[in-house]
Symmetry: C2
Subunit: 228 residues, 2 copies
Amino acid sequence: MPTIADKPPVTSSDKTFLEMRRAIVEGRIPAGQKLSETDLADHYGVSRAVVREAIGRLEGIRLIERTPNVGARVVALSADALSELYEVRESLEGMAARLAALNMTAEEVNDLNRLLEHHEKTIGGSETYYQEDGDVDFHYCILQGSKNRHLIELLMNGIYHATRMYRVQLGMAGPRVGTALREHRHIVQAIANRDAELAEMLMRRHIAYTKQELEAKLRSMNHGDTRR
Amino acid sequence: MPTIADKPPVTSSDKTFLEMRRAIVEGRIPAGQKLSETDLADHYGVSRAVVREAIGRLEGIRLIERTPNVGARVVALSADALSELYEVRESLEGMAARLAALNMTAEEVNDLNRLLEHHEKTIGGSETYYQEDGDVDFHYCILQGSKNRHLIELLMNGIYHATRMYRVQLGMAGPRVGTALREHRHIVQAIANRDAELAEMLMRRHIAYTKQELEAKLRSMNHGDTRR
DNA sequence: TATTACATTATTGTCGACAATATAACAGAA
DNA sequence: TTCTGTTATATTGTCGACAATAATGTAATA
């Protein structure tokens, strides 16, 4: 039901930023590639100023890197970067789960349970629905429950897009669906019991497993290409 | 000895960004204040474009907030925001300590010990040296030891400036100097023993204490003013 | 041939002006 | 007076052009 929506882009820079972000996450602008401001400008039909603003924001969320007087390039996909990213995510989402256990209202816990039930049903039909949106919804729900705006910002507008970049570009339609759902259930239970300590620990494990899965996939695909 | 240095600003936007950041952290541009692009432009003697770029980067660091077609304003100092900030910091620096215990070289551990000894000496002279730079150096050292670039970025270019903003503007020359030093010693010991679990836990406590201290100060000063 | 110095080209950084939007000021009606 | 609708003003968003810097290519020299 509650698939997340970005607030609608109002300014021209917003649109360009969102389009570029999507293109990068989906690999249509390949990892590691140099970005030409003028090229992007007339590709998106806007002025260089708005492209520059978009690039600035993309740098802010660490999807691209910039060196003065030289230019910007999309970050490279690497095992190290993936590892570092997931270490940060483990830390932050662990804290989110902890805070959710403390701060979620009874209603919110109910919603979370309903979400879980919904997933348990739909997963039987072998739909790929759960795989993407379902997982996102789950983590989103807990994150909101933390009631920590700073944390929410950091994950929603930063980490998540980077992780999705790896997921998408590594072609993740992984086999961990069933396992993940079981882990989700335990986390929700801990939150319902207001056991902050346990909720954090379980969430951290959950993310650590996902990390291992991605690393394995990355290794298996690594027939030696890190594009420049 | 190794007080941290930003890499020298090359472009005009860099300088403006750094100056504005400092002005905000030190409260010379007061918290919650609306920012006029034109005013800033001729105050710093640059064009509006560079001010806009600086503002964009300051937004990326969460030192200012922006609403489209309306403008930017410095974030407000509030008990909630402080709390949220320190929850994030606790999480991230805890992870940093954990990783440092795993990844620091023997030399780096030695450096850390030497740093600690140096502080133990200088603290006798009741110099305020330790209070600011010393503490920063300590956390910086461990952060580097984590070897996680993403983590380093997040803390160095984001969280630290926001926390310093509270410290400076609340006039923190706090009484926790001695206590903090003892905590530092325990953390270093855990890292030297390669006890990642303990290092993380001690660091988290250390930060949680600091948070409480700041919250107390904030409450005591709160004669009802959150500036608009 | 390899290398250095210089000139050329392309790309980014900065600027001032115009367009679009929001805020403020004002006038009129209930 | 208070509210509403309209006009005026100020501020932000966008653009194209110029300046400054880096990357490239070329010629001259060892």
